[in-house]
């Protein structure tokens, strides 16, 4: 955006504005755009989810308001906003009011570090990844406030569950993302996306392959395992089935949202869907190349930038549009998976969730970090670091190193998955065996 604003102000209009003016204007534009699209995204997501899940259940879904029900979320929104705001008498009034705000505001900040397209990012923080998760955990405070302030047992139970769950699952989420930081050497999300150019093989690993924007991390064993772990953790963070335990309607009604209505409830809802959207987007960004895709590299090379002053700003816009399209397409694809999960599975119990997180996911991500280190060692390190053994057959190409790394990490990761899954299931099976042996066995029908 900076480039475009700079081009319009200084080059076209010849205003010779100072740098900070350009920066300010471009940031304001971006912020305005982001704050405009976030709620619209939520509206569309709710519609999208309801239609998709209805189809999975052989139903039609909302199709009455507007063309094919597209205006349904608007109608829902109007309903929400015009509802009476009910605050229980016994509630802590101020905390009750603050809770939805504390929950909803941080998720909006998270947009700041999300790269939408080449050079399209509000703030390209060097610690973007850390910022993203640091900010998202502030929401948790809001949930606890809501549960506590409501003075309702269900709300309190829900809030406790939510906090326990979100805090626990931040660990595997971050651990699974560490590999990307290790591979790219940067926490900037833009850098991570840019590292995923290439064709099934990242150009950072093998520089000389054609750049089709498909060098996604998910195509490596390390990246794939990290993707699976991260997506599961993201489901738990975003309170999606099968981890929608804090708001398990069949058990604790609506969890921490039980005593909320109207606008405040809508804020929780909004926060949750924005969070889900962002989690899907971040999954796409880190594992599926974000805005990377075929055609981006060419458009970027044609566009105007500091390196290429002869470029055409039209290509900047085109690259941005295509990048945004890719990102949104990937995001919605992930959201579809979330919806399908919601359609297919029951939810886990809170203790099972904790078991799963601490006993399965965290060890798995730890092993994955080991794999990531091996990956880096094999693809990049030479004789000086003691990895000359790879080059026993003369000078191996980068591709061969890549293939060796692929095979090694694949073996490690599959073995780790198999081992941990077995360990966890064994516990369950042992109990099962005890049940069967514990005097409860059926006496087969005795013949006369």
């Amino acid at each position: 955006m900076y480039d475009v604003v700079d081009f319009i102000l200084n080059t076209q209009l010849g205003l010779n504005s100072p740098d900070w003016v350009v920066m300010l204007i471009s940031h304001l534009i971006v912020v305005a755009i982001l704050f405009a699209i976030a709620p619209v995204q939520v509206l569309f997501l709710t519609y999208y989810e309801r239609r998709a899940i209805a189809r999975m259940q052989d139903r039609v879904g909302p199709n009455r308001v507007g063309y094919e029900g597209l205006l349904q979320p608007i109608a829902d929104g109007v309903k929400m906003f015009t509802k009476e705001d009910i605050v229980p008498v016994s509630a802590d009034q101020r905390v009750h009011l603050l809770a939805p705000i504390v929950t909803a505001a941080p998720v909006m900040y998270m947009f700041a570090v999300l790269p939408w397209g080449p050079n399209m990012i509000a703030v390209d923080l060097p610690t973007g990844l850390l910022f993203f998760f640091a900010i998202s955990s502030i929401s948790t405070v809001g949930l606890l406030m809501a549960g506590w302030a409501s003075n309702n047992k269900f709300a309190l139970l829900g809030a406790m569950r939510a906090v326990a769950q979100v805090v626990s699952y931040e660990i595997p989420a971050l651990l699974s993302l560490l590999f990307a930081v290790m591979l790219t050497g940067s926490m900037s999300l833009m850098a991570i996306v840019e590292a995923q150019s290439g064709l099934f093989i990242s150009t950072t690993d093998v520089p000389n392959i054609p750049d089709l924007g498909l060098g996604w991390f998910v195509f490596t064993p390390v990246g794939f395992l990290a993707f699976v772990c991260f997506f599961i953790a993201a489901l738990a963070e975003g309170e999606r089935t099968p981890f929608d335990i804090p708001e398990a309607d069949s058990e604790i009604v609506a969890g921490y949202m039980t005593e909320y209505s109207g606008m405040k409830f809508a804020l929780f809802y909004l926060a949750q869907y924005i969070l889900n959207f962002l989690l899907c987007a971040i999954t796409a960004t880190i594992f599926f190349g974000g805005w990377q895709g075929p055609g981006i590299a060419w458009l970027v090379s044609q566009s105007l930038s500091a390196d290429n002053p002869a470029g055409n700003p039209v290509y900047n816009v085109l690259a941005g549009m295509l990048g945004t399209f890719y990102l949104l397409a990937k995001t919605y694809a992930f959201f579809f998976v979330m919806v399908a999960l919601r359609g297919a599975f029951p939810r886990l119990r809170i203790d099972q969730l904790m078991n799963f997180g601490w006993k399965f996911l965290i060890p798995l991500t730890m092993i994955n970090i080991l794999s990531a280190a091996l990956w880096i060692a094999i693809t990049r390190w030479g004789t000086a670091q003691g990895f000359g053994i790879i080059e026993f057959a003369g000078e191996p190409s980068n591709l061969v190193r890549w293939l060796i790394a692929f095979a090694v990490t694949l073996v490690i990761n599959v073995a780790a998955y198999w081992f941990l899954a077995r360990l966890n299931i064994q516990d369950h099976v042992a109990r099962q065996a005890a049940l069967a042996a514990g005097g409860l066995a059926v006496s087969p029908p005795r013949s006369a």
């Binding site: 189809r55 052989d58 399908a340 999960l341 297919a344 599975f345 899954a421 966890n424 059926v442």
Partner: protein
């Protein structure tokens, strides 16, 4: 025996010895066996989850086609109700209705009280007709009431009826905001046999012979006393006159002339007619509407002539005669509303109170308000058989307008009388000049009190005339 009995739970150590003594613990399973269900585990961790995901995604994929074939289990099966409807089977039962013969209008019911006796929630009430000459009960029913709101649709009444006079209707769209309208009287229960034949052809074919035979026997036995469906009365009479006077030009004029005037004739049927008995009742309703319109227009004219101060004359639905009934009704209602609005506007200055009549009332229930100036009597609207809702809506709106007018005229001490839909007010106070008249209370069970309503209507009309005359002077 202590509270321990409640908490012993799974540590129930002393299991009752029932399982071990004398009798074999497993039942004799003849022609089959006890199968222990197999508890399976997934082949690989996570595999079953993907399998489950596959099922829903498969359904999602297949749901883009619509399937009506019940052998399939995927694809959208939704019937989008108001537009699409499932065919109702013949046996479908909703609420009971009474049948009458299409040709002669004879009711099949002989008031044998079988249905009243069997009805589990006791919602059927009937009164046996009496011979007007001798006072003896005759096999016909003079009033038949079913409380639809408490009916449980069990269908016993239709099952036990020996004369096939009571049958179960297929119309399930009975929801209404007006609770009292769910106490349904004979007039609204009656449907022609042809209607029942159209919804349940084979059922009627089975019953037809015996039903007609019994009807004929009954007619033969007591020729004069079999009840005639009120819907048919006007038609029969019209047909009779047509036979008498073949030269008479058109049917409508004949009808208007000869149709029993609802307001004055004691034999008049209420203009309400059941929605589905359209085939038989269209004509009378139409006529009644036209008649009402003409009357209303006349009244309005009189009022206008008498009171030029109220500039707005009420051109009643005079041209409604050419339109279908429902349209006319709606038109009339809309006009009434407009009139009311205008009146309301003028009321502030002229202190005139508008009066309104509403769709479901007998057409002549015009109640001019007592005030110094005569307000234009609004056209009355007969029951629109097809578009009742629209008409009612308009009426409600009209009423609201009138209320507004009421508020504006309250200072002047003019009290308009308001009628609610469906309920003809039974008690319209005589108009008194320069004195506030109390608003007429709407009586919920007014339909029972038709006479009073009519009386009130007549009185109201007289009052209006008087007021008009006073204004003229």
């Amino acid at each position: 025996m202590s509270n321990d009995t409640l908490t012993h739970s799974l540590t129930f150590t002393e299991a009752p010895a029932a399982l071990t003594v004398v009798v074999d613990p497993t039942p004799q399973i003849a022609r089959g066996s006890a199968v222990v269900v197999e508890r399976r585990r997934p082949k690989a961790a996570g595999w079953s989850l993907l399998q489950g995901l596959g099922v829903v995604v498969d359904h999602w994929r297949k749901s883009f086609r619509k399937l009506d074939d019940t052998t399939q289990i995927a694809g959208t099966f939704t019937t989008e109700y108001p537009e699409e409807r499932l065919p109702l089977p013949e046996a479908y039962r909703n609420m009971p209705i009474l049948l009458f013969d299409d040709a002669t209008g004879h009711e099949l019911c002989t008031s044998c009280f079988q249905c009243q006796r069997i009805c589990p929630p006791q919602v059927i009430h009937m009164t046996q007709a009496k011979d007007p000459d001798t006072g003896k009960p005759v096999p016909a029913v003079s009033e038949f009431i079913i409380e639809y709101d408490a009916c449980m649709s069990c269908g016993f009444c239709a099952e036990v009826c020996p004369f096939d006079a009571i049958k179960m209707d297929h119309n399930f769209e009975l929801s209404t905001a007006d609770h009292s309208s769910l106490t349904v009287h004979k007039t609204d229960l009656l449907r022609p046999i042809s209607y029942y034949q159209s919804i349940a052809p084979t059922f009627w074919a089975e019953a037809e012979a015996s039903a007609y035979k019994k009807l004929e026997t009954n007619k033969k036995r007591r020729p004069a006393t079999i009840g005639i469906a009120p819907q048919m009365l006007a038609q029969l009479k019209a047909a009779h006159e047509l036979r008498d006077d073949q030269q008479e030009a058109t049917m409508p004029t004949t009808a208007v002339a000869s149709a029993p005037a609802p307001a004055t004739s004691s034999a008049a049927p209420p203009a309400r007619s059941a929605a589905l008995a359209a085939s038989a009742s269209d004509l009378p309703t139409d006529k009644a509407a036209r008649l009402a319109a003409i009357r209303a227009r006349n009244e309005a004219k009189a009022a206008v002539q008498a009171a030029p101060a109220t500039a707005s004359a009420a051109p009643a639905a005079s041209d409604g005669g050419d339109l279908p009934t429902d349209k006319a009704a709606r038109l009339a209602a809309i006009r009434a509303r407009n009139e009311a609005k205008k009146a309301a506007e003028q009321a502030a200055a002229a202190e005139a109170a508008p009066t309104l009549a509403t769709p479901d009332m007998p057409p002549t229930d015009v109640q001019p308000a007592a005030s110094e100036q005569a307000a234009p009597p609004a056209p009355t609207v007969p029951d629109a058989s097809l578009d009742e809702k629209a008409a009612r809506l308009a009426a409600i709106r009209a009423r609201n307008e009138a209320k507004k007018a009421d508020e504006q005229t309250a200072a002047a001490g003019a009290a308009p009388t308001l009628a609610t839909p469906d309920v003809p007010p039974t008690d319209v106070p005589p108009a008194t000049s320069e004195q506030a008249a109390p608003p007429a209370p709407a009586v919920p069970d007014a339909p029972l009190d038709e006479k009073a309503a009519r009386l009130a209507a007549i009185r109201a009309r007289n009052a209006a005339k008087k007021a008009a005359q006073a204004e003229g002077e």
